[in-house]
Amino acid sequence: MLYTSEALQQLIEEFSKLPGIGRKSAQRLALYLLKQQREDVVRMAKAMVNLKDKIRPCSVCCNITEEDPCAICSSAKRDRSILCVVEEPNDVIALEKTNEFRGLYHVLGGSLSPLEGIGPDDLKVKELLLRIDGTVVEVILAMNPNVEGEATTIYLTRLLKPLGVAVSRLARGIPVGGDLEFADEATLTRALEGRISL
């Protein structure tokens, strides 16, 4: 397709590289920016550059941060005896939204994916083991409930148990507010296995 402006075409191409953005949406976003004030567009561009310039991994938990160590790792209010291991920084954001977990995190940077050839050396496993130094009493493995998550959970359990820490995992089952009859078989099976006595 021929655009009358090379700048517009370039921006559309850049936008269409974003996840979930097709060419048509990219075009709409680019034309929207064209209509905005110059200072608004500059602010947005600066925010994007800042994202790359300022954010770096926390040297303790491997989460994304501007300050090293991150606000969670350096907070005196957090419980240092519980460590929650997650796959990605998004998972930290999701768990923090609950306001229930007061321990520390460790971000692995993904999960073991045997079929994709992603092994333990591709994850922050060594960094996790270095953190088990006597202050940590429990490690919660909060992996995604899929085969890759299971592989990671089993592997980490094998590594962590001999270090004398309690290892637990998140429960799996019916989402709150959901209907039992609409739950799929795999979830229902796991929910039955993970039932608790009252």
């Binding site: 073991l112 045997p114 994709e116 409930p145 085969v147 089993i154 799929d184 795999a186 296995e193």
Partner: protein, 267 residues
């Protein structure tokens, strides 16, 4: 056309924000690629069933002109939970699905191979000991299914009977079989094969019940030899098959273990 079929999920790939692209090994059409729109959404019923190694009933819209078919339903036939409870069992399951993905062409029906895959996965999931042996069983039957059944009971050169494993003196990959002492002396490209490993290979070819292989206790040396022979035969006959990604990962996971993939298989 709407197709309803039994299948095993071979692999999945994240696509877009919430979708998955999956490779299914189906009973009616062999290996097919499907797109499951919204499968990663929490509300979707497709995602939980659409996990590698799962035995499912899939419903998809088939159109000859497109590469990826549209998956509309995917229900779990039976839970093979045992495969995801243990690294060794998972290693067998992953290697089996990866092998099927690697050796089968797209859209070529092969119901016996699906049955073999299902029985292997079910046996490995239930196995309380030696789950890794089920992979040797699977590879032996896979070679047979592909038409490259190796000859472990006769010399592949002179045809002499080698029922007694002690009289086997080597393996000839390109002739997919073993050789006698006489042929081994003058043959080119013959690899050494110990009598205990040869005996196990003969036994694997005779066994028709995958449960029986889990009762076989093999020494690490024999395991390594058997695994190596089966893999060399597969690599030697299936174009493009080299290393399995899952095995490389599980080898590192099982470094301290005694599993079948704990450095035993030499690729």
């Amino acid at each position: 056309m709407i197709v309803t079929t039994e299948a095993v999920v071979l692999r999945t790939l994240k696509y877009g924000e919430t979708s998955l692209i999956a490779t299914l090994f189906t009973r009616v059409a062999g290996k097919i690629g499907v797109i499951a729109k919204g499968a990663r959404d929490r509300k979707s019923r497709l995602g939980p069933s659409l996990q590698p190694m799962n035995h499912v009933t899939a419903v998809y819209y088939y159109k000859q002109t497109r590469e990826l078919q549209l998956l509309s339903q995917c229900d779990l036939v039976r839970s093979l939970k045992g495969l995801t409870d243990d690294v060794e069992r998972m290693a067998v399951g992953m290697a089996a699905v990866e092998l099927v993905d690697a050796v089968t062409p797209a859209e070529e029906e092969n119901a016996p191979l699906l049955d073999l895959l299902l029985s292997t996965l079910a046996t490995a999931a239930r196995a309380t000991r030696n789950p890794g042996n089920t992979l040797y069983y699977f590879e032996t039957r896979l070679l047979e299914n592909l038409g490259f059944s190796p000859g472990f009971h006769r010399c592949s050169h002179c045809g002499a009977s080698l029922e007694d494993a002690a009289s086997i003196h080597g393996l000839h990959v390109s002739q997919h079989g073993v050789v006698c002492a006489k042929c081994a002396r003058r043959g080119m490209g013959i690899e050494p094969l110990s009598a205990p490993a040869a005996k196990i290979l003969q036994r694997l070819q005779e066994i028709r019940d995958p449960e029986a292989v889990t009762r076989m206790t093999l020494s690490p040396q024999v395991k390594g030899e058997v695994a190596g022979v089966l893999r060399r035969l597969l690599v030697g006959h299936v174009e493009g098959l080299r290393t399995l990604r899952s095995e490389a990962v599980f080898s590192s996971l099982l470094q301290s273990g005694s599993g079948p993939l704990a450095g035993d298989i030499q690729l």
